[in-house]
Amino acid sequence: MHETFYDVMRRQGITRRSFLKYCSLAAAALGLGPSFVPKIAHAMETKPRIPVLWLHGLECTCCSESFLRSAHPLAKDVILSMISLDYDDTIMAAAGHQAEAIIEETIEKYDGNYILAVEGNAPLNEDGMYCIIGGKPFVEQLRHAASHAKAIVSWGSCASWGCVQAARPNPTRATPTHMVPGIADKPIIKVPGCPPISEVMTAVITYMLTFEKMPELDRQGRPKMFYSQRIHDKCYRRPHFDAGQFVESFDDEGARKGYCLYKVGCKGPTTYNACSTVRWNGGLSFPIQAGHPCIGCSEDGFWDKGSFYERQTNVKGFGIEASADRIGATSAAIVGGAAAVHAAASVVKHMTSKGNQE
């Protein structure tokens, strides 16, 4: 009786031919060859929707909002046809004890076979009562749901790193998922960003559904497919960096020409994310294109690395590895006032990124 993605497409009048075309587009979008198309098609045709419990701790709901803005696939299609979003207090019809009962039902029915999506994080101070769900600390709900899950997705910088409420002095002791004491030993996928890019969120989900496996993760637990390059590496303004053409102040001549924002504080050189490749809101733009320096919102502790408008001095080497030295030399010569950047970079390299600014 489970509805598959293929069922839905067929029912909407989409031909098998169009369906296969969709599958090949999906394969291409994920960087896979044509040999994967039948595999995707098979997965779409046969799978029931996997249950997802989406919990909210201390957060601002920006991750949910971002998820809903996904252009491909549409959030509607993810919710109706790909996953079974059984618990998400932002959009679920049920409230109170009927809402809480769903968590127990899901655990009973799908023990070890649902995905736990975590938005926000758990405060540990005041016995967890800085975040109360159903009269109890959120951290209890989180531990409980985690212990029966197949895998955990830590949405956004809150669940991945702690984010804004964990910025100094972290008054509530807000704690990211993987650091919660007693959290079950389950695979955790971190999808950082404040929020993460909409289409990155839905791509992580569809990847897991399609290939029935976790995406390959880097050492910090982020999907390599989206977090293995710095924003600077693929930034369309990169040629201006290389040429020493910088925005010196907002709305100056350089700002109007789209010059590099490094000198007004851009954190693109130290931020691992897909903003300059996937871009935002259906590939429309990203912060640098709209004239603001990257604030590094997908990095651990980005709130505590000094002002967003201060030039970075802890850059660990620009660009693609092979050419890092050459680019470094070029930039050091041209930047002038920032000539020490790369010299400093090698010194600072081994320092922790936290607490070396203020």
Partner: protein, 599 residues
């Protein structure tokens, strides 16, 4: 002891059965609600509790004021941007920074698109399931839905029987799969749902359409702010420089192609609001005209700070397109002026909030606010510290403070703005309100209700979409006149700042009046206070025993089935609660707090 009359005129009776709703869902953040109902299932006492606290303001202490917008923007990702705008205004006020005309237009476009987006998503995705029954939609005849659609919105092209049949088939398959997702455990057999099946099908169809469309609205903010959720802002203007026909315009933030996209989205937004949202609102409301509960404070005390400055840098009431003012005791013929700098006007109280003041009988103006968390449960509390069964509203019971305007509990939000604008004779508002009253054939008093709140939100979405177009035209005209400035960087360098300054910034967030008060000392934030819409509406009792807007609105409502509190959800949702906003509150005594809390 059973009945107590509050100073603001509400009777509270705690003798009946206690009903608890926790979590209240389809809101932003975490909230709990407890009510007492009498033998006829009528609510006689209401207790609303914010159940989260994040401490953002203590985190802000010592930071660069130019960064504050990014921190406070993370107070809320639903009303994303409105805190950021309020913050840059507060810093600009403190440092006497004037912004270019184009920056004002762009900020207004961003703020207005947020209003439209937030209202639309609220109506369809947070509120609709209080009125609309998706299971009942399966019983609809798609032809009847088509006829209904064509009647209420003749211009809407998506109205054929086949279209509704396809959607119905999709919903049917979804529901029959047994995996109900977000619809699971809803109250679908509750007699409180009144729509005929064809209207349910129409509304569910638009639930899905709106889910697709809402993402397009925000692309406007991606153009100007680089991403959405959480676009980027700038003290002194906007970060998006304009280059219409110069060298490298293609790589500039704003060029002709970008403005065309904004125009295209703005036009489509107006169409969607006018062809889908407003007709649905009126159609659904027409089936619930008898359900006139939920007024609460709306017919008494309303507050709005105003927003959307027509010309840049003039924040006087005359220059604001959204009205500023306060109404007390329902006297619509007397709208009071509001001054956010006056220490006697906006004050916050904590005797029923989980915070400590040196003297809890007194309120404090935000510039002088003190906040220290103090999680304490009263003598009549039931449960344990980490397992709350029943709160004691006679003591502290919420992470929300109690703000008051000249001592009065106030309602804020679209309804407050519309009533204040109406009372001031604002032509656009009067026209809109009269239109909806006529369409539904109800008197003005009908606005003071749950449905009135929901209706005002829809009217405002329409108003905001048109104003978005107005400011886009204004932006283009100004560029045409030769002004392409977007940022004033004169005072961007902190070394140019005075040693000690203070400022206040305000907006009308989708949920109501929002203010940020900042003190800057030696180029760093010395104190940062936010008083936000849900703090007003969701406030607990104050030192005098006045109840807040949520609590007042729930009183005297009949609940069909106490174990299925759809009526409570309806009224709470009509305010569009945003708990992360209301409960971040923290003030200058950060270091002391850190000592207390870090274990």
């Amino acid at each position: 002891m059973s009945v107590v009359t509050t100073p603001n005129g509400f009777n509270l009776d705690t003798s009946g059965q206690r009903v608890v709703v926790d979590p209240v869902t389809r809101i932003e953040g975490h909230m709990r609600c407890e009510v007492n109902i009498d033998e006829n299932n009528v609510i006689r006492n209401a207790v609303s509790t914010g159940t989260m606290w994040r401490g953002l303001e203590v985190i802000l202490k010592g930071r660069d004021p130019r960064d504050a917008w990014a921190f406070v923007q993370r107070i809320c990702g639903v009303c994303t941007g409105t805190h950021a705008l309020t913050s840059v205004r507060a810093v600009e006020d403190a440092l006497n920074i004037n912004i270019p005309e184009n920056a004002n237009s762009i900020r207004n476009i961003m703020q207005l698109s947020l209003q439209v987006h937030d209202h639309l998503v609220h109506f369809y995705h947070l509120h609709a399931l209080d009125w609309v029954n998706p299971v009942n939609a399966l019983k609809a005849d798609p032809k009847a839905t088509s006829a209904l659609q064509q009647k209420i919105s003749p211009k809407n092209p998506r109205s054929s029987p086949g279209y509704f049949r396809d959607v119905q088939a999709r919903i049917r398959k979804f529901i029959e799969s047994g995996q109900l997702g977000p619809f699971k455990n809803g109250y679908w057999s509750n007699p409180a749902y009144k729509l005929p099946p064809e209207a349910d099908l129409m509304a569910v169809t638009h639930y899905l359409e709106a889910l697709d469309f809402q993402k397009d609205i925000m692309t406007v903010r991606t153009i100007f702010g680089g991403k959405d959720t959480h676009p980027n802002w700038l003290v002194g203007g906007v970060p998006c420089a304009i280059n219409m026909d110069g060298v490298m315009a293609a790589g500039a933030p704003i060029n002709m192609e970008r403005l065309n996209l904004v125009k295209s989205v703005t036009d489509k937004t107006i169409d969607f609001i006018e062809q889908v949202y407003i007709p649905d609102l009126l159609a659904i409301a027409s089936f619930y005209k008898d359900w006139m509960y939920g007024g609460g404070l709306a017919s008494k005390n309303l507050l709005s700070y105003g927003d959307i400055p027509d010309r840049a840098n003039d924040y006087s009431a005359e220059n604001l397109l959204m009205p500023r003012g306060a109404i007390i005791n329902g006297k619509l013929d007397e709208v009071h002026p509001v001054d956010l700098r006056n220490p006697d006007e906006v004050q916050e109280f904590v005797p029923h909030s989980w915070y400590a003041y040196p003297d809890e009988a007194k309120g404090l103006h935000p510039w002088d606010g003190v906040t220290e968390p103090n999680y304490k449960l009263g003598p009549n509390f039931k449960g344990t510290k980490t397992n709350i069964q029943e709160l004691d509203e006679g003591a502290k019971y919420s992470w929300i403070k109690a703000p008051r305007w000249r001592g009065h509990a106030m309602e804020v939000g679209p309804l407050a703005r519309y009533v204040i604008g109406y009372a001031q004779g604002n032509k656009e508002y009067v026209e809109q309100v009269d239109y909806v009253l006529k369409a539904l054939d109800v008197p003005l008093e009908a606005m003071f209700s749950t449905l009135g709140r929901t209706a005002a939100r829809g009217l405002e979405a329409k108003w905001a979409a048109h104003k978005q177009k107005y400011f886009l035209d204004k932006l283009i005209a100004n560029i045409k006149a030769g002004d392409t400035a977007t940022a004033n960087s004169e005072s961007f360098d902190p070394s140019t700042w005075p040693a000690e300054v203070k400022g206040v910034g305000f907006t009308e967030a989708p949920r109501g009046a929002l203010g940020h008060w900042i003190r800057i000392k030696d180029t760093r934030i010395d104190n940062y206070q936010c008083v936000v819409p849900t703090t007003w509406n969701g406030s607990p009792r104050d030192s005098q025993g006045n109840i807040g807007a949520y609590e007042a609105s729930l009183l005297d409502t009949k609940v069909e089935r106490p174990e299925e509190p759809v009526e409570i959800l309806r009224t709470l949702h009509s305010f569009d609660p945003c708990l992360a906003c209301s409960t971040h509150v923290m003030s200058e005594d950060g270091e002391e707090l850190a000592e207390v809390k870090v274990r």
